[in-house]
């Protein structure tokens, strides 16, 4: 799969990183809620048509290294254009994406491998920034948010690595319900067959989230995902669901998915 151009996400992350850093710096220099350190030099690698877009978090560098190791390549003089910028550099080798058929829990990142370690750290920071920036957005049905575009781009570029990190991020952080809903809806809506199974696996547990709003969002995400495999999970959710309106909505979603399943069977025969 050829990844989508990602300058937009890079610029988005870079500009928001600056805002977040500044906000945090005002509270407690260099160690706000986003936990950025004074000398963080690199927060993300995004693949673009013309090469790789790198987003740097640089603030008052005193000892800027002349070059930085990224994967197997060296990038010379990356700080020339000044701090807080997104820069396009010559194409670097793609970091191998592992098989999406493996289950998430079976394949934790190996932090001893340098490129994976880099990827993990970079993605983690990028995702952190996207979620911090997302707090300032208002989400509307049927309207693309900058937050969802950023998530889509990261997933399209890093596929299962990104989804794994999103999953970790969602479970290990307290996420605002609107932001969580937008994330789930984006995961359901994404047109990317290669990550469909993993997105499905992430969505399913949210059917039993304590918040009815999040359960509702999860149902809608599964409706958008159009995976009939969700039917038994939604049935279980109906059995446990205390609220009538959600039961009815889940039933409607099951009907839709059953229609899709029937159409798939018809096509196959």
């Amino acid at each position: 799969m050829s990844p989508e151009m990602n300058n937009h996400t890079a610029a988005y992350v870079a500009s928001n990183a600056r805002k977040i850093y500044r906000r945090n710096a005002m509270i407690d220099a260099g160690s706000g809620t986003a936990e950025f350190e004074e000398n963080i030099d690199f927060c993300g690698t995004c693949f673009g048509k013309d090469g790789i877009v790198h987003v740097f978090l640089v603030n008052d560098w005193i000892k800027s290294p002349p070059q930085v190791d990224i994967g197997h390549s060296k990038i010379p003089n990356i700080f020339e254009s000044g701090p807080w910028t997104a820069k396009t550099t010559p194409t670097l080798p793609r970091i191998p994406i592992r098989s999406i058929k493996e289950k998430i829990i079976d394949r934790p990142f190996d932090s001893s491998t340098s490129d994976k370690y880099f990827l993990r750290g970079d993605l983690s920071k990028t995702i952190q920034i996207i979620f911090e920036a997302g707090k300032n957005e208002q989400f509307e049905d049927g309207m693309k948010s900058k937050f969802s575009i950023a998530i889509e781009n990261i997933i399209k570029n890093y596929q299962d690595h990104a989804i794994e990190m999103f999953s970790e991020f969602l479970t290990s952080n307290k996420i605002d319900s609107d932001l969580l809903c937008e994330t789930l809806r984006t995961l359901g809506n994404l047109q990317d067959d290669e990550t469909e199974q993993i997105r499905f696996q992430i969505l399913i547990p949210y059917l039993s989230h304590p918040s009815p709003f999040i359960r509702d969002c999860t149902g809608l995400a599964l409706y958008d995902l159009e995976s009939p495999n969700a039917i038994p999970y939604i049935r279980k959710a109906i059995d446990k669901e205390p609220y009538q309106s959600l039961k009815m909505d889940f039933n409607r979603i099951i009907n839709e998915l059953q229609e899709i399943k029937s159409a798939q069977v018809d096509q196959a025969t």
Binding site: E140, D141, F213, Y223, Y243, Q244
Partner: protein, 163 residues
């Protein structure tokens, strides 16, 4: 009693059963009643053809979006507006459906207290419903076919996603 329709962000915030457990109107429910210059849009439902009118209004509203998505809505008696002494302006809407535009009403001079009362009244006596994206897609196609919708006024991003 004529009915009014209000598009909601999420009907679940107004759910009666959830509100009962919560102990009243949730603050989140007010997200459904965003105002601009203390005004808020609603639409009159054509009583002669209620179901078709509801769908036509919702579809016209969905045409302003960038992508197909569900529409949550509340259907409620216009009597609520009278009881709360809310002022109205029958101002033509700006959707791609001219018939729907004539059904548009601005509720005006809304105070925070009135919005809360309106939300409570809709929660207690309104119908909270959802139109799914597939229904909307079908209805947009029908609207285009019947020339009810002015295609040039439909969001171009949305139009490119309609099958």
């Amino acid at each position: 009693m004529p009915k009014l329709i209000r598009q909601l962000s999420s009907k679940i915030w107004l759910d009666r059963q959830i509100a009962e457990k919560f102990g009243g109107l949730q603050a989140d429910a007010l997200k459904n009643f965003k105002t601009s210059e203390n005004k808020m849009s609603v639409f009159k439902v054509d009583e002669d053809n209620k179901q078709e009118s509801v769908i036509r209004i919702l579809v016209a509203l969905a045409c302003g979006r960038q992508s197909l998505d569900k529409v949550d809505y509340a259907l409620f008696d216009s009597n609520i507006i009278k009881k709360l002494d809310i002022q109205v302006d029958e101002i033509e809407g700006t959707t791609p459906d001219q018939t729907v535009n004539k059904l548009h009403i601005d509720l005006k001079k809304l105070s925070g207290d009135i919005i809360c009362e309106l939300a409570k009244s809709i929660q207690n006596s309104g119908e909270l419903k959802r139109l799914y994206s597939k229904d909307i897609e079908k209805a947009i196609n029908e609207g285009i076919e019947k020339k009810q919708l002015q295609v040039e006024k439909i969001n171009s991003q949305l139009l490119s996603k309609i099958k």
